[in-house]
């Protein structure tokens, strides 16, 4: 790969890492369980971006798109189940505070 493509990948890669940082920040510092899930969603978006860029720059856009389509389906089901668990917690406790999840000790 010539240096122009490498420069391209580096640019996209840096932005993906920054979105990853934003997502991690959201997960670690939120008080609300739903915001934690939004942070996870941001992480998955960053990875989707990386996959598409890798596919584009390596000359295999078709394969990357196939992978991304599967990933999007997985992500949708994952979020559904996670929201189900969060709703269950809410139904029992009446609140979505992350500090509630401290019952089970290490």
């Amino acid at each position: 790969m010539d240096s122009a493509s490498l420069y391209l990948f580096w640019t996209f890669g840096v932005f993906a890492v920054l979105i990853f940082i934003a997502g991690c920040y959201c997960i670690l510092l939120s008080y609300n369980l739903i915001r934690v899930l939004i942070g996870v969603e941001l992480l998955i978006k960053a990875v989707t971006l990386l996959l598409i860029v890798a596919g584009h720059l390596s000359g295999h856009p078709a394969l990357a798109q196939a992978l991304v389509i599967t990933l999007i389906v997985i992500e949708a089901v994952f979020i559904t189940v996670a929201v189900g668990v969060v709703q269950g917690i809410h139904r029992i406790n009446g609140s979505l505070n992350t500090r509630l999840l401290k019952e089970l000790k290490g």
Binding site: V47, A54, G55, L57, V85, I92, L101, L104
Partner: protein, 476 residues
């Protein structure tokens, strides 16, 4: 015809759910048991036409690229055993028919996921099937819908999502370099041009797999999930899900794709030793029986990775054998824990004592499993631990070999503590009325106990013919 392993359970789900209610619910247990036993039988009897027949009708419709080797067969065997056990104890433990039917459906999906992980030849398909098992595990952990279950499920969801993101980013970097995701294609590209970029990609992918396997320092989800899940789910998770979707995937990826570079071996040895020691030390301090078993799982998985990290054929074969042994004896221990919990009503080790007099089968099989885990001859665990320790010594990693042996002593210590507190001694007053658990729990524990003894006794005879080739076929 190998694709039947993943197609048959799907057909079963459709058939059972579209039948009449009563018939479907009644049939689900028997169909599930039949499939698991069929899986065991197919692996043990070398029916060549099944494994190599490519004139199968469905192969024209479904063009799956699935690969089978001895390691795959080992996983199929252990998953068949554990799934059969889980089907039986679910029938005994869950009384509500509708809930039980949902549970069986989810078990069929996990069967597809585990078989898919074992059979696939592609990195991304490996990831997708790992996700199938993970998502189904979230649902199963949260099955009882109480607060502890939801909390454990949520922690597992968080760490699993992080692991998935790490695996996918490693995979995208590998896609950039190799242009494909099949095992052989990636292995060829990695061998052709090693540089720091690919090392970073491989590292990311491995970190994701470490989290899924429950290795320290990424193990925090494991004790909560194993202890707060309903009893059949604990058996399932400890016996097969973490082993396949985590440890087997790690072993397959390291052996078949990434290869044993010196830095890879050091990373595996360090992580393995850390997990083994941490798990053993933490298990000593627990008073909840299921949590102690969960930390013990972390320790034993550390052993498996230590064997893998030695890099020699003997080490890899020992790791594979220990994976099978651990599936068997850990499932047995969790079945015993379920029996103790249902009969005595508590999971707290300090509150029980002398149960062996009231629950003889549970006591004896639990003793067998503990001794196998601690590595006493002639039980199965002895052989696999011996192979790992010898492989480490022979590969020059003397210090790790000593650590492994020392952890064996710690393992013996906490299991003896478990046995003494729960089973030996005088029966406490509140447990005077305790009876042996029902047939649904005793039968699987007796079968698993017999398997532990049988594997231990047979190992020296089949060592040359069956077990050592496991290491060689993997190119270790």
């Amino acid at each position: 015809m190998v694709s039947l392993f993943i197609l048959a359970p799907l057909l079963a789900i459709f058939a059972l759910n579209f039948m009449f209610r009563r018939l479907g619910r009644f049939a689900a247990f028997w169909v599930g048991l039949l499939f698991s036993l069929a899986q065991i039988e197919l692996v043990l009897l070398p029916r060549l036409p099944f494994w190599t027949n490519s004139n199968f009708i469905l192969n024209d419709v479904f063009r799956f690229s699935l690969g089978v080797d001895n390691f795959t067969k080992l996983i199929l065997l252990s998953s068949g055993v554990v799934l059969a056990v889980v089907f039986v104890i679910t029938k005994a433990l869950i009384d509500d028919e509708a809930k039980r039917f949902d549970f069986f459906n989810l078990l069929f999906i996990i069967m597809i996921g585990i078989n898919g992980v074992a059979l696939t030849k592609d990195l991304f398909s490996l990831y997708v099937f790992i996700e199938v098992t993970s998502i189904t595990s979230f649902i199963l952990i949260a099955f009882d819908r109480n607060m502890h279950a939801f909390e454990a499920a949520f922690k597992y969801i968080m760490l699993s999502a992080l692991a998935s993101v790490l695996m996918l980013s490693g995979m995208s970097l590998l896609l950039l370099v190799c242009g494909a995701t099949g095992f052989s294609a990636v292995a060829q590209s990695l061998a052709a041009s090693p540089n720091n970029f690919t090392v970073f990609a491989v590292g990311l992918f491995l970190c994701g797999l470490f989290i899924k396997s429950g290795l320290a320092p990424f193990h925090t989800w494991l004790p909560d999930s194993y202890s707060s899940a309903p009893a059949p789910v604990s058996v399932l998770l400890a016996g097969i899900v973490t082993k396949t979707a985590g440890v087997y995937a790690l072993m397959r990826v390291v052996v078949s794709i990434f290869g044993f570079s010196p830095s890879m071996k050091l990373v595996l040895l360090f992580v393995g030793a850390f997990s083994a020691v941490l798990g053993a030390l933490a298990a000593l301090t627990q008073s909840d029986i299921k949590r102690m078993l969960a930390y013990s799982s972390i320790s034993q998985v550390g052993y498996i990775v230590l064997g893998l990290g030695s890099g020699s054929a003997l080490g890899v074969a020992g790791a594979a054998l220990h994976l099978f042994n651990h599936s068997v004896f850990k499932s047995l221990l969790f079945v015993n824990a379920a029996a103790v919990e249902t009969q005595s009503g508590t999971r707290d080790l300090d509150k029980m004592s002398g149960l062996a007099q009231k629950m003889p089968y549970t006591g004896i099989t639990s003793c067998l499993a503990s001794l196998s885990a601690a590595g006493l001859p002639p039980l199965a665990g002895f052989w696999s631990k011996l192979m790992i320790i010898m492989a480490l010594w022979g590969a020059g990693f003397r210090m790790y070999s000593v650590i492994a042996a020392a952890t064996g002593v710690l393992t013996l210590a906490y299991f003896l503590s478990l046995q003494r507190r729960a089973f030996f001694g005088e029966v406490s007053e509140k447990h005077l009325g305790v009876k042996e658990a029902g047939l649904g729990l005793v039968l699987p524990s007796v079968v698993l106990g017999a398997l532990v003894v049988l594997t231990g006794v047979l190992t020296p005879f089949i060592l040359k013919s069956v077990i050592l080739p496991l290491g060689n076929i993997l190119g270790g």
